[in-house]
């Protein structure tokens, strides 16, 4: 990738982050939240959304303290060469791991709901074609494409509107029943729903208008938070707490429950509209991982390496055999993601102690 094809604007960053955050998470998140904190999931999302907004502003201030550097260069400055390199390895492995996991859960969704007899490997190869094509051309085009997320979100909101008359808001009462315990125990599903904003720390040098980056990144988180709250409110008041706990993909079930006038089985249409969104999570991580590897190893022949990278990713994502194992792997991703976030926070604090490479006027 030459550098010109990686540069993105702040508004593209917004779409990019929203598309990574919403996606796979939105399909399973309501059920997982219902299991840990009942019908009060939306309060947890709201609280964690605010916390994460603070975290985003912190990440961007960390990035602003250094002149046009990504997290990979900052770790080297802060912790020395060896420590920094091993941390970078951890970050890349985390990103790669997220790519594989999201690719697998994406193909799993298709496998369960659309094509039961097609092998997941075939599905993986077929669905990765657009991703491969876009990543070949660079981050700029991936980010440009990710603006399509707004279209899918609009479609989803339309579905919410259609089922509005079937909602029973009694299911949400009494508000705040699960209390502080509920909020505490909803940590992992909530963080998992929001993960994706951490890629800012990797792609920050490619943003062209950095002054607006903070505003747009927070805006992205705001959109995700609002959408998740809306989704939780609708799904919870449609199914009720107990039913929600039992279901696996409540958002798709919601689409199936709606009876459209001409189309029987609205869910197929919904999945068709939602597939690009889920794919975008994969695409975002895929692109950022490939970009990081490129940057760390200074690769030149992009064609060969992208093919190798894609092949390894597809093979890795097919290692888990069954769906119960996938949730274990997701847990690992959540833990690694949280450690990455903690690393960013620690780096921010540490940058006040060890001032090497910090912009002088900050």
């Amino acid at each position: 990738m030459d550098s010109r094809q990686n540069q993105i604007t702040s508004s593209q960053l917004m779409g990019f982050i929203v598309s990574i955050q919403v996606g796979t998470g939105a399909l399973t998140m309501p059920a997982e939240l219902a299991r840990v904190c009942g019908h009060d999931g939306w309060i947890s999302i709201l609280i964690y959304g605010i916390a994460i907004t603070a975290l985003i502003s912190l990440i961007i201030s960390l990035m602003n303290r250094y002149n046009n550097k990504s997290i990979f260069e900052i770790t080297k400055l802060l912790y020395g060469k060896y420590m920094g390199n091993s941390l970078n390895l951890f970050i890349v492995l985390y990103l790669w791991y997220s790519t594989c996991i999201s690719l697998r859960s994406y193909t799993n969704t298709i496998h369960i709901h659309l094509l039961r007899s097609t092998p997941t490997l075939v599905l993986c190869i077929f669905t990765i074609i657009p991703t491969y094509y876009l990543v070949w051309y660079g981050l700029k085009y991936v980010a440009r494409f990710s603006l399509a997320i707004y279209l899918s979100l609009t479609f989803c909101c339309l579905l919410f509107f259609l089922v509005f008359k079937d909602l029973r808001f009694n299911f949400l009462m009494p508000i705040g029943q699960s209390g502080i315990e509920g909020i505490k125990s909803s940590f992992s599903p909530c963080i998992f729903a929001f993960l994706g904003f951490e890629v800012i720390s990797v792609i920050y040098p490619e943003i062209t208008n950095k002054k607006k980056a903070m505003k747009y990144a927070i805006g992205a988180n705001l959109i995700t938070t609002l959408f998740c709250i809306l989704l939780l409110l609708v799904v919870t008041s449609f199914f009720g707490e107990e039913m929600l706990k039992k279901s696996l993909y409540p958002t798709i079930t919601l689409a199936r429950a709606y009876r459209a006038p001409i189309i029987e089985r609205m869910d197929i249409l919904f999945i068709a509209m939602w597939l690009p969104v889920i794919a975008m999570t994969t695409r975002g991580y895929f692109c950022v991982t490939y970009y990081s590897i490129n940057k760390l190893l200074n690769l030149k022949k992009k064609g060969v390496y992208l093919l190798v990278f894609t092949t390894i990713t597809i093979l890795l994502s097919n290692l888990p055999k069954s769906i119960s194992r996938i949730s274990n792997y997701t847990n690992v991703m959540m833990i690694a993601g949280t450690s990455f976030l903690m690393l960013l926070v620690i780096s921010y604090l540490f940058s006040f102690v060890r001032r090497k490479g910090v912009k002088p006027h900050v």
Binding site: I110, L114, F126, E264, I268, A272
Partner: protein, 492 residues
């Protein structure tokens, strides 16, 4: 003599030598007339001109006769010649090579004893067809004139419609054998100089014998030569050209072709017709939306139908499903084979009818449309709903105002059909995403091809899927990066 074929030498003082060099170069060209004369002053001379490119009457009256009657003709006298010979274009080439180029371009050229320069006079007159409406781009309420193969006439047509000194033409010579001229028209106060530089660089890199049609040029200078989507708008309509120029775009004209090319353009330029601007904005918007829906139908309807029939039959409403199942019972093929059979038939009828005379085309449409279509259903080769679906998508494809985009849409449609037969609805979604991804990656002269959708430009949306009232179209679209964004005089 001229052993090394190096003609890039000055004319000699010796008339016989000059004549023999030129005569040798132009031997076996019976269309080039050599008219030897002896002047009044007793000197020997010779006229060269191409029969059929030169106006003989004018040549005799205004060029030959005055020259023959001259009392004196030598190197000093030449500078007074423009006052003595009543013709418009008069030049004095010194180099043999440029002299020969002048002859071949249709000038009448005179060499004479004692002159170290030739006298070349522009007296072009050749057969050209009349201006008439382009067959491929008909218009109901638009203008009915079109470009023709003569570039001078085309330039005059543009100049007639844009009476401004800012209308500039930049000329390039291409073609090692054909020696054609490419002329790039633009409005100096609007067009972006950097884009002009890009075009100039691209054209200067061309190394070819001859550009036979504008399509050659289009393929050579395209940003993404392997894309099936057209990246420059080829047209024969002057009104499209004028509209393009007024938006700060460039018009690339090639000598001896009637098509010109507008650049840079977006995808949406290919879905627009002149009627969109000549009718009321509500009607125009309706036509635009109709075409957009038609595009989607042409692209995805057969694919979706195949996907539903093969994998998601439970999405089809029950009453329809019953009649569908009944009509499919007679058909032995899977839906995709059936679809391709019908599609292939339609494509063949289309391809056959394009180049045949119109009186045969009528009988083809009867054979193809009525006989084959009807009997295919009765014979159980295709189900009737499939014929309807394929025919609907074919008709939807015909709504495209440009021929180039029509081909692209058909090709994408086949890919969607094949994928849908393997992966169901996923096989519709993934090609759709890939298509959008491809449109995002494409660029026309370095400008994003799929704007104003992505990168999103809200201001430019009012002239894409809808057509806002003219009074709101005060800003020029951003695609060509015009120097002046506002239309009209009051805004500077």
């Amino acid at each position: 003599m001229v052993e090394d074929k190096n003609l890039n030498i000055n004319l000699f003082n010796d008339y016989e030598k000059n004549f023999s060099i030129i005569d040798d170069t132009l031997k076996d060209c019976p269309d080039i007339i050599r008219r030897k004369v002896i002047l009044n002053s007793g000197k020997k001379g010779c006229f060269f001109f191409v029969q059929g490119l030169c106006d003989i009457d004018l040549f005799q009256r205004d060029f030959m006769t005055p020259l023959l009657n001259l009392k004196k003709l030598d190197n000093d006298e030449v500078k007074y010649l423009p006052n003595k010979i009543p013709v418009a274009g008069l030049t004095f080439p010194l180099v043999i090579d440029s002299l020969i180029q002048d002859i071949l371009a249709g000038n009448a050229v005179f060499i004479c004893d004692g002159l170290t320069c030739a006298i070349s006079c522009t007296l072009k007159k050749y057969e050209k067809r009349n201006i008439k409406e382009p067959e491929g781009e008909k218009s109901i309420r638009g203008d009915h004139d079109g470009f023709i193969e003569d570039m001078a006439t085309n330039i005059a047509t543009i100049r007639r419609k844009l009476k401004t000194p800012n209308l500039k033409f930049k000329d390039f010579n291409v073609g090692a054998i054909s020696h054609q001229i490419i002329s790039v028209a633009y409005l100096d106060n609007l067009a972006s100089p950097s884009l002009l530089q890009i075009i100039a660089d691209k054209i200067n890199q061309i190394d070819t014998d001859s550009l036979i049609a504008i399509g050659y040029l289009e393929q050579i200078i395209a940003d993404h030569p392997n894309s099936i989507f057209p990246q420059y708008l080829a047209t024969e309509r002057p009104d499209k050209v004028i509209a393009g120029l007024l938006e700060g775009k460039f018009v690339i004209m090639l000598q001896e072709t009637s098509f010109v090319m507008i650049a840079p353009v977006t995808y949406h330029a290919f879905t627009q017709a002149p009627e969109d601007y000549t009718t009321h904005w509500v009607g125009a918007t309706y036509l635009r939306l109709l075409r957009t829906i038609a595009t989607l139908i042409a692209l995805f309807l057969p694919g979706i139908y195949i996907a539903l029939l093969s994998y998601h039959y439970y999405m089809i409403p029950l009453p329809l499903l019953v009649s569908l199942a009944q009509s499919r019972t007679k058909v032995p093929f899977p839906p995709v084979i059936e679809a391709f059979l019908v599609e292939f038939m339609i494509e063949m009828v289309r391809e056959a009818s394009i180049r045949l005379p119109s009186f045969i085309t009528a009988s083809i449409s009867i054979v193809g449309g009525l006989v084959i279509g009807q009997t295919a259903i009765q014979a159980g080769v295709a189900s009737d709903l499939m014929v309807i679906i394929i025919a609907a998508s074919a008709i939807a494809g015909f709504t495209m105002p440009t021929y180039d985009l029509g081909i692209s849409i058909r090709l994408v449609k086949y890919v969607v059909m094949i994928c849908a037969s393997i992966f169901g609805i996923l096989g519709v979604v993934v090609p759709m995403v890939t298509l959008v991804a491809h449109l995002l990656v494409l660029e026309s002269l370095g400008e994003p091809y799929f704007q104003p959708i992505a990168p999103f430009k809200f201001g430019d949306l009012k002239d894409t899927y809808i057509r806002a009232p003219i009074r709101y179209l005060k800003k020029r679209p951003d695609i060509a990066k015009p120097k002046d964004q506002e239309r009209g005089k009051k805004n500077g």
